[in-house]
Subunit: 311 residues, 2 copies
């Protein structure tokens, strides 16, 4: 038997200001494409990686997609061979869940080609095994969950894994600017204080409650008031040039909310209108052009589907 | 013009383990009854208070119901006279929002007799002015919001006031035991550490998000996993004799969740079945009888209506 499948797993914005390590949402673009082939030759082989400028390892055990697949193959006691081609169509180290997208694409592809032994939710734990490689060994599920399930997602706990997708009728659009400086997730985590003020923590848990309620009831104004970060953003904003200028421009321009995507340096802004997302996104990009910092811009509807088959 | 109205405002359980200073829910009983009369004689007069063993001041400025009414009368530029009778039908200092119930009953009564110049939500700010008297001057809105609106409620922020009621189709029942020791809210707050671990704060804001999602989707199991407190309960449990024994008995007996009500000493347990609430509530009461500590028991459906007119 030789079969092949091509899949897409989207980039994702996590934390979403109030929900550090909990909330995420998926983008329509960018993301990773991955081709998976079942081969008679045993073992897992990464045939090619494109779009990474040679940065990613092709040894399966050291590659997030490879590691995720190994964990799933072990569980399934999978004896045949697998070959994959990874097409990175998104930046690495951008705060947009690049490693999560690869890990999600890999396990989603194998699951589809095997006619779905697992649900998407069940696949998340295998993807997490892959993503661990880039987060300093600590398991994180926020990017993986958003990329896999799509929409707005929440990680209630990792051990045991307990995640859910927040239903909403809101049609939202994201403008994401990616100034070309690299921040490694593990480094960004190390810089965080281990203690926070109780009163700030209360603000956050009030906001995460309000965030879920606002999405589920379609209350855009409350959603806007909930997207606020008094704990992590003040500690990380200094790592990102012009962060506050960009955020304020976004909010002034009508963004529902704006903040650091994951551990940065990307900055997300959410809108309820595509044209405004496009216009304000372009303005934010100019802020970086004025200081001669290369900056990519992604305008994207929130992706409510998550990982999908391309062919 | 002389008119009168009789109203009821329920007791309330706040924090609900994961949502310190944010979540609350109203009980069907106990609660406060209040009679309000519009009089030609100017000014506000508290004619009588029953059920408080003489503990509460009848000077309006020092009484939570009185203070709340004064704040509302000032806003309305109300020139006529008001007389009230307060019938405390619930314990003071129990962690069940006694002062909030009185303040809510008072402003709700005046609003009803004036044919609703305000919505229930708008009334909350006047009730808070009354409740301030018992919380060491710091405004709190959690008990007031639950008692006024009924159901499960959340306080996103106090300044500005931003509250919402979490819709649910779940029919839930509470067993509340009140061991007869007194804990003052202001004292209980003082004993809390000002800093908390970030990782514990993340657990709480994941749980408050999950709590809202679980109520809104009717997911009792997730609701159960969300009702957990790794920050406040460990610090306060020592003030309540046999707390962990009671909580464990409740959970073993099928409670969805169990924890300290407000700042205690009452302990709430939530059930999806009245008979189980009744049976387990009786078992918890016995735990206190065995150590010769007087203990009241309230078995009550969650009250989805809040403050209401009695006649």
């Amino acid at each position: 038997m030789e079969k092949s499948i091509k899949v897409f797993a989207p980039a994702s914005v996590t934390n979403v200001s109030c929900g550090f390590d909990v909330f995420g949402f998926a983008l329509t673009e960018p993301g990773d494409e991955l081709v998976l082939r079942i081969k008679n030759r045993k073992g897992l082989h990464i045939s090619s990686i494109t779009g990474d400028n040679g940065a990613l390892p092709t040894t399966p055990e050291q590659n997030t997609a490879g590691k995720a697949l190994i964990s799933m193959m072990n569980e399934l006691d999978f004896k045949m061979g697998i070959e994959i081609d990874i097409h990175k169509k998104m930046p690495l180290g951008s705060g947009l869940g690049s490693s999560a997208a690869s890990a999600v694409a890999a396990v989603f592809a194998l699951n589809e080609i095997l006619e779905k032994p697992f649900t998407k939710k069940e696949l998340i734990k295998y993807a997490i095994e892959g993503e661990k490689l880039t987060s300093g060994g600590a398991p994180h599920a926020d990017n993986v969950t958003a990329s896999m399930l799509g929409g707005f997602t929440a990680v209630k706990s990792i051990l045991p894994l307990d995640v859910f997708k927040i239903p909403t009728t809101l049609k939202l659009f994201a403008a994401v600017v990616h100034p070309q400086i690299e921040i490694k997730t593990a480094d960004a985590r190390k810089s965080l204080k281990k203690e926070v003020l109780l009163k700030n923590a209360v603000t956050h848990w009030a906001n995460t409650a309000a965030f879920v309620y606002a999405l589920m009831t379609g209350d855009v104004k409350l959603l806007s008031r909930s997207i606020d970060d008094v704990i992590i953003e003040p500690q990380r904003a200094g790592l990102i040039p012009k962060f506050f200028e960009a955020k304020e421009a976004a909010l002034r321009g009508g963004a529902i909310g704006s903040g650091i995507s994951g551990s940065g340096p990307s900055i997300f802004s959410l809108f309820d209108d595509f044209n405004t997302a496009h216009q304000i996104g372009s303005e934010l990009k100019k802020i970086y052009e004025q200081i001669n910092l290369r900056c990519d811009l992604y305008i994207s509807a929130v992706n409510y589907d998550g990982a999908k088959v391309l062919g």
